[in-house]
Structures are given as structure tokens and as C-alpha cells.
Amino acid sequence: MTRFPDWLFVLLAAAPCAASAQGASIAPHAVVIDDRLRSSTVTLYNPGAQPIEVTVGTTYGYPVTDSSGQFTLRCLDDSTTGSASRWITAYPRRFTLPPLARQTVRLLARPPQELTNGEYWARLAVTTRAASAPIERTDSAGIQVGLALEVRTLLPIYYRKGPMTTSLSFDAASASRLEDSVAFRLLMHRDGNAAFIGQVHATLVDSAGHIVREGRLPIAVYQSAEPRLQFPSAGLGSGHYRLRLEARTERPDADVGALIQAPPIRAEFDVLL
């Protein structure tokens, strides 16, 4: 076993750790590629004081909800029907971005000739990490441990060919009481040929017609989803309530051009709490 002199502890404690913020700002949040243009761009910017290494690629996947109603990304093989990732390429794919520098990444699509009308999906994967090591070795006898941080951002790519439509159906809503909240699961499926990106405005109305809870839930329904909506239960007595839902293709964060517009969809369900 290695023995350490006391003075070494002091030296190690004072050893600098290379730990400066590293990451990239990426815009836009969602990439739309029109079949007539077959290209688009994404801008990366390094707001930090250190250079970062960037790797850009595409993968296939789309949001689904898991058993608890949380949105998660289902990653699938590139060859899956509906995938655009195998014929969309990013340039450049690997580069170092100096501090306060920006880089435009071009996305070029080479779809198969027989591609039918519709929306095809991919995910832009941008991986960034510091160009420097997580720790600096200051001695040869001690044990130093450090972990570098790497971030990978997955943003949607929509490749659109022909007319796009989207809509949504609310199929069911179920309610359950949790410790300090009430949870609703909203079963919905998408209609049309494009993903329904937007938000649900939900209001809970008591038997007297008063709105007792209200909230918004961002949704991304590519095929079907059963997201969970949760309200605090304090003051909500047992009984019958009405859950009113309105889905709109609006999101405060989204570029309007990225959203296929649809008329508002409304539904109401009786729920027993």
C-alpha cells in the first residue's frame, strides 16, 4: 500500500481542477427540412471561455410516454419506416469550437427517389465536451480522481414532403390520487401525417362548475401518447369532477414554422376523485 506524506495532502488539495463551463448554444430547437429544398442549417455557439470539441450526427427516435406517463425518447434503428436519419447528413461532423465562436452546421438530405408524401423524423445529436482534461496531474504518488462532463443534445428533425396535416384525439382520461396530488393519464393518438407538437390546457371543474385546478402540459405526439398531468390535491374533496382539455399546436418555445397548425381540439371527461 502506498503511503502518503502529509505535505502531499496540502499540495493535492491546492491542485487546480480544470473545471470550466463547456457547452454549446444551439438554435433552432427543431429543424425542418422541406423536400423541395432538401437542406437546412443549425447554428452552434460556444458561450464559454474554453474551446469545446463538437460532434454532430443524426439518429432516429421520437418521443413516447413511459409507464409513468413521462415523455421519453424511443430510439430506434435507422432502417425503421419513417426514419430520415439514414439519408440526412450533417456537415461538418466533428470540429473544435473556440470560445465565443459560432459554427453553422448544414444538414443535407438525400431521400430515396420513391419517397412518398409524409413527414419523416430524425434526431440531431450534438455532443460537446471540453477540449481539456478533467484533472491535472500534480504528483506521481497520490490517487486523484475526476470525471469530465459531456453533454449530448437531441433535437428533432422533421423532413416534410407534400401537404402536411395533423390532429389529435383524446381517447380517455383516468384519475388517481397520490400522496399529495391527483394525477390524470390522458390517452391520445395523433391523426394526419405529421406529429402533433403543442400543449394541452387542462382545467378541473367541480360539480358546482367552478374551476378548481388549471395547468398546461407540453406534448409531442408522434403516434400515440399517454402523458400524466398532475395537480396538488390539497383542498380537493372526493367526488365527481369534470376534466376539460384543449390541445393547441402552440408552444412558446417553438418556431412557428416548425409546427404544423391544426384547429384546437377539445374534450371533456368525467373523473371521480
Binding site: 448554444s25 442549417t41 443549425v42 447554428t43 455557439y45 459560432r102 453553422t104
Partner: protein
Amino acid sequence: MSSLVAVLIALAGTARGAAQATVQGQQGLTFGFNIPGVNRTIAPTDAVNAGRFYVGHRVGGQVRLTFTLPSTLSKSNGTTLKVTYSSTSAAIQTIGAGSTTTTFNPGSSKTYSYTTSPDIYVKIGGTVQPKSNQQSGIYTGTITLTVAVLQ
């Protein structure tokens, strides 16, 4: 006297006809995707993003180029985005063999003499300065180039 005046007017008329310049706006100035708080400069030599006009005239002729530049770009809801120009934000590029490029300040009129080629591009760049809380959206503005034939 009246015949002399008539001749001069006729000559002047002929000179005006021969002195016509052709001006075409060929390519818009594109600042692309921008991030709040981060300025972006497009050089007039940027072939993809710089604005471009074609100005044709005769060799030996002279024109005065005057830009009308927006100080802000606007969104449909009226929100504005600041845009500035430097002393080298505009450029004249001759077209043809031995093409040359000369930058100039688009804030002032520029006189150009056609010496080798009857065709030039007048290009325009600039800098957009999105505020850190700049609203997302598409901002547009109009850049006008006025070409006055001087001889």
C-alpha cells in the same frame, strides 16, 4: 440660337439615353439564425449571405451609389432588431476577367467609374445586434440602392 439650343437639347437627350444604367437587386442580405445577445456580422464579400445588386453601365461612365439602409429590422408584431453598418460593410466587385473588390462605407454615397468592365456587383453586409432578451422570430427590412448616372 434656337437651333443651337435645340441641338444641345437633342444632344443632351441622346446622352441621357446612352447613359442609362441597369440596376437589379439580385440577392437579399441574410443574417441567418441568430442567438439573443450574440452579434452577427455578414461581410460584403460573403458570397452566400451578403446582399447583392447588379449595376450595369458603359465603360468610361460614372455612377453615384447611394444606399438607403434600415437601422432596425422588424417582426410582424412590430418588435425590432438593431442592425449596424461599418466603413467596410459595402463592396464593389467588378465582373469579368481580373475581377477586383473594393469595400466602402454604405453610409455615404460612393462614386464609381467604369474603367474595365461594364458590369459590377454592389454588395452589402452588416451586423445584427440581438439583445439578450430579443424575441424569437423572423425580422426583415428593406435595403435600397439608388444609382445615379453622372456622365
